[in-house]
């Protein structure tokens, strides 16, 4: 498939794409560059190469952002959210894909509507309610909030995977005397597992990066997520920006590595569910 053969078109196309590439990479390059510099050199010229490489930016970032605790908090919160969304979501996705959609229209529309509900619509009563029941600073409670927020997207995406499973497979298993639970576990789950991986990646990415809910519900020093801890560290009056950029890299790096390895799943999932982070 060739849309254009002209050499000039190709030149313009590659120049434009490269220009966008530079715009995209510029702030990322600045982060990497300055994470390796002493802060005095950042003030002089943020674009210059470091005269000496300051690896201790990373060790100081690790201590000051309390990453030993906060990264674990983020990982636990992300893991819990992934487990909750994938189990409850695949159960619901299975039912929605297997029922005549007319009867389940209301539920489907309700879920679609709640993907577009502003967080502020439920945040305030939820916060004061949680505060009353002592659930603030509780990562399990926050994992449930994330689950409620990310589930509709996960269900809509998983539903399309469940729909692709041939009906005959289910029917013959049922005729052979399998229960619905067995059909779900042994027939469906193995087939839809790529979909579950995609959902796990997108939900994990969102939970890891989430800011508004985490900063509202997890404020205790030992409960902060890595992102919120980074935010507080970088908000101090006298900031060492070399150290802060190092902290940023520590949070970004695991995500970027996962993304590069599994980009097809990420992009497919984002496109399928249309979520904005």
């Amino acid at each position: 498939m060739n849309i254009s053969e002209s050499r000039l078109t190709f030149v313009i196309v590659y120049i434009t794409l490269s220009l966008l590439l530079v715009i995209t990479l510029f702030p990322i390059a600045l982060t990497v560059l300055n994470a390796l510099k002493p802060s005095a050199e950042i003030v002089q010229n943020p674009l210059a190469l470091p005269s000496i490489i300051r690896w201790d930016n990373f060790t100081r970032a690790w201590t000051d952002a309390n990453f030993g605790t906060t990264l674990v908090n983020s990982a636990v919160l992300t893991g819990l959210t992934i487990i909750l969304v994938c189990t409850t979501g695949s159960l619901t996705g299975y039912v929605l894909a297997r029922q005549k959609i007319k009867r389940w229209k209301i539920l489907t529309f309700y879920l679609l509507a709640s993907t577009t509900a502003p967080i502020q619509l439920f945040l305030f009563p939820l916060y004061f309610g949680f505060a009353r029941f002592g659930l603030v600073n509780n990562p399990v409670a926050v994992a449930f909030i994330y689950t409620a927020v990310y589930s509709p997207f996960a269900i809509m995406l998983l539903r399309t995977y469940f729909l692709a499973v041939p009906k005959e497979l289910e029917e013959s298993a049922l005729i052979d005397g399998a229960t619905h639970w067995q059909v779900f576990r042994r027939v469906f789950l193995p087939i839809v597992s790529p979909g579950i991986l995609t959902v796990a990646l997108i939900v994990g990415l969102n939970a890891w990066n989430e800011f508004l809910i985490a900063t509202t519900f997890l404020q205790g020093q030992d409960r902060l997520t890595a992102v919120v801890s980074f935010f507080l560290l970088s908000g101090q009056y006298s900031s060492d920006w070399g150290e802060i950029m190092a902290a940023a890299l520590i949070i970004i790096l695991p995500i970027v590595i996962l993304f590069v390895l599994l980009q097809r799943h990420f992009i497919e999932g984002m496109a399928g569910g249309s979520v904005k982070g």
Partner: protein, 281 residues
């Protein structure tokens, strides 16, 4: 009864979203500080908003934000996606790079732009100033703060649209493109009459989502300016958040949330309609 499999989802959703959302709607008619007993005040919260100039600034800013995001990132995404389709070689590589900002936490993106680009002390702006170029930090001027934030969100966001449009463009049947080439259509005619109509449903869906998201925008405003200076970059969601947690005016915050939701609801109806046609299949 395997239909009961939907129960966990429904219970979590009811406790976290549905019930608190209904409470928010009710709270909009009360005065409440979050601790003592709420006092019913009727429409007072809405009347107070009507007379509050910050509310109107925030609403205007949300509308400006919507207009920016309906045009600039969609145009950039379409341009780059079409060019990737033409280039073919290297399109995978471009796609991965353009998507990188989408996967970086908003708190990090916000701080990097603030310190490394906008800051007159540690950023590129400061460097340009020292070189004698007349440029200031957009985030500290009332006239430009909102646009300074929008640039950061644009950087973070356009790659997502580009990847979605590129995926849609590749679904346009190759025969249609071949045919238009054979018929002697120019490059731009092919884009105008074959490719764009082919991905129109995707563009429409993204525009609807843009309207919804534009009324939810929170992170970058809260991180970069907290709505300042002098409320110039305030949007409805930061206004509501500050009212609830800084001023402890939860009733007022609830009223603002109801307003945000009403704007979102209009777009949501279009969204559900667009999605519903897909579910009929």
């Amino acid at each position: 009864m395997h239909r009961l499999y939907v129960l966990p989802t429904l219970i979590i959703n009811a406790v976290i979203i549905a019930i608190p959302a209904l409470l928010t709607v009710a709270l909009a008619f009360f005065e409440w500080d979050g601790i003592s007993t709420p006092v019913f005040v009727g429409l007072d919260n809405f009347r107070a908003l009507w007379d509050d100039s910050v509310f109107w600034t925030a609403l205007t800013n949300n509308i400006i934000w919507t207009l920016i995001f309906l045009t600039v990132p969609i145009a950039m995404g379409l341009l780059a996606a079409t060019m990737m389709l033409v280039a073919r070689r290297g399109s995978k590589f471009f796609q991965v790079i353009y998507f990188l900002p989408v996967i970086i936490a908003t708190a990090i993106t916000g701080r990097v732009w603030q310190a490394m680009i906008y800051s007159p002390v540690t950023g590129v702006t400061g460097l340009l100033q020292r070189m004698g170029i007349d440029i200031s930090n957009p985030l500290t001027e009332t006239s430009s703060a909102l646009y300074g934030i929008a640039v950061v969100d644009l950087w973070h966001w356009w790659g997502f649209l580009c990847v979605i449009f590129f995926a849609a463009l590749r679904q346009v049947p190759a025969e249609q493109i071949e045919a238009s080439r054979i018929e002697g259509a120019t490059f731009f005619q092919t884009i105008r009459y074959v490719l764009l109509p082919g991905i129109m449903p995707t563009i429409t869906l993204m525009m609807i989502m843009t309207v919804i998201w534009s009324f939810l925008v929170f992170d970058f405003v809260y991180i970069l300016t907290q709505g300042g200076p002098a409320y110039s970059s305030e949007v409805l969601s930061t206004f509501a958040y500050r009212s609830a947690f800084y001023d402890l005016a939860v009733g007022k915050a609830a009223a603002i949330s109801v307003v945000i939701s009403l704007f979102g609801l209009a777009a949501t109806i279009f969204y559900i309609r667009a999605q519903a046609t897909e579910f009929e299949k």
